[in-house]
Symmetry: C2
Subunit: 349 residues, 2 copies
């Protein structure tokens, strides 16, 4: 952003900034009674529905790197990550609240970009931004989002309902977001070595979009309703398939057999992985940030979901004592390791 | 904290830390269906009640200074600040979600202290900690709390219902938290000049407690119910009386006359202010962090509240065109200025 268009946030102050960011926000859901502008937002759950609520914190230098994540994309993605958690309960997201801590390194125009991305995601998913807090920070940018959704209690799906022989199903394809990150990291190091070099991003559209502008599987809720299938357990894939399978196993007290050949990976992801000398299955297992949904269904429901292009059966639940196992293409059986992302192991990023 | 008792957070990892912090949490409210441990918490609003939800972000070096704010107190206060917002809607707080970004400067023992303070506040206010997120940070500590409460929609009070001639009422007394901060700042500068000096904190218990361990006026909800009074507007005093009066005025499109002689200030606060050569009324007007509630009532309700030791009538609503005015002890009328706390004016702290 050029300095000519730079407005200092301190020129508006905290109240001025909040007003500037939220002035034009319209509420679209009947469940949003009152949005920003009071001590709290007022919401009304749909009749006979329960509330699900989740919160996530994204920290500059830990969860994102502004040298290659455009602020608008970052805003979009930070909302998606939270909506995905609501979808993973089989609920429908209706509202978000946004907390921002911003250092004076950021101009008003930069914050506008971030907010534009958040509001774009809200618009795309029919979600209202109903509240938040905006404050200064002594160092980097911190984004905290709380998402709220609703569904009848008996329709909600937790992580703990999987039973032996249930089928393990995943939406979409995996590993793309991780490969997108590899491409961005490579271009960043090229840029650091030669600041005049142009980034080579052509041909990587799919994996870059998976990394920079992921989507939440809000569609699964309607699809499952239409198919008359209620998952027995569900979780979203934020840290990597292996890590999430182990979460389901632990919460449901079962084991899982996962078939390597069944793991859905896009040809674009496979191509990028080859170029980086990476095993695409490893990327799918441990990459994270795909925001697909992983769930289990009763074996009897297989007929209802088979052939659906969005859904892939990748394994089944076994006895707890069997643990989580990967059955390789060669028929070998190896114990599944979760190397999922952990912000406290800072060398991961 | 001595190094002997220092456990690195990275030894537990993100999941291990969350489990360690939340393992022993019990849910006490019927509205808390499922707490931590899934993609989202599941809540159920009491029959015929609406939901209020608010979020706040506290940033090290901006909102708190760990050189004099003990972590347990900080945890307590960060919860209180959010519960106070729920109370300001005339709702009853039931749940919180906690987001923490922690640098590796903090040991597990330090995070335990912070969490202990939060859980103490939860326990004291009958609130359940139902979810959260814990991540690493590259620099300071950031605390993000979301609080959720409930009340019938017709009982909720916003900032916008004050009408001309309504009485302006405040709970408790004001300015104490600000004077507590002055005492702590003084001792900090003494310590910086002479690190072996013992802090002189005796005799300042009241103002220190107001600063370090404030309480939310959860009691007002029951008191107003018992008195059969519904405020016409309400706000909590986090930024200072003057700033909050101006918020009520703006949201309700009225003016206010505020009587200096009526502003409740504790003798302990007056004494401390004198010592610091500060005007105690200025402290009450602009100090902030008192977490008292400021509200308006219909003139007809005066008889119901008069004589209650927790409530003080400090002024009344006037026509919008009159603005917000302070009537001094000498009978002068001056326009009220809000110098409330603004995190983007960093020289304020």
């Amino acid at each position: 952003m050029s300095n000519e268009n730079r407005t200092e946030i301190s020129a508006l102050g905290e109240f001025g900034l909040i007003q500037h960011l939220t002035d034009h926000i319209l509420l679209t859901n009947k469940t949003s009674v009152k949005g920003v502008g009071d001590d709290a937002a007022i919401l009304k759950a749909p009749e006979n529905e329960t509330i699900v609520v989740t919160t996530d914190m994204l920290v500059e230098g830990v969860h994102f790197d502004l040298s290659y994540a455009p602020l608008k994309h970052l805003g979009y993605k930070s909302v998606i990550a939270n909506l995905s958690d609501v979808c993973a309960m089989n609920a429908v997201p209706h509202q978000i609240l946004v907390g921002l801590a911003i250092s004076n390194r950021f101009s008003l125009e930069a914050v506008d970009e971030l907010y534009a991305g958040m509001l774009l995601a809200c618009n795309h998913y029919g979600v209202d931004l109903v509240g938040g807090d905006t404050t200064s920070s002594r160092s980097g940018l911190v984004i905290s989002i709380t998402a709220i959704g609703y569904e009848a209690e008996e329709k909600l799906v937790t992580r703990s309902g999987a039973r032996e022989n249930d089928l393990l199903v995943v939406t979409g394809d995996l590993g793309g977001a991780y490969m997108g990150l590899q491409v961005l990291e490579r271009e960043k190091s090229v840029f650091q070595a030669a600041p005049n070099a142009q980034p080579v991003l052509e041909g990587y559209d799919y994996v870059l979009e998976r990394q920079l502008k992921p989507e939440a599987r809000r569609d699964l809720h309607g699809l499952l309703n239409a198919l008359d299938v209620k998952p027995t357990s569900m979780i979203d894939i934020s840290d990597g398939l292996a890590s999430e399978i182990k979460h389901l196993a632990e919460c449901s007290t079962v084991g899982f057999d996962l078939y390597e050949e069944k793991i859905p990976v896009s040809p674009k992801t496979i191509e990028a992985a080859k170029e980086f000398n990476l095993d695409h299955v490893t990327c799918a297992l441990n990459g994270g940030e795909d925001y697909e949904l992983l769930f289990t269904i009763k074996p009897a429901d297989y007929e209802k979901i088979k052939g659906n292009p969005s859904l892939t059966v990748i394994g089944h639940a076994t006895a707890d004592s069997m643990g989580c196992r990967l059955i390789t293409r060669l028929g070998e059986t190896i114990m599944l390791k979760a190397q999922g992302w952990n912000s406290f192991h800072q060398d991961n990023y």
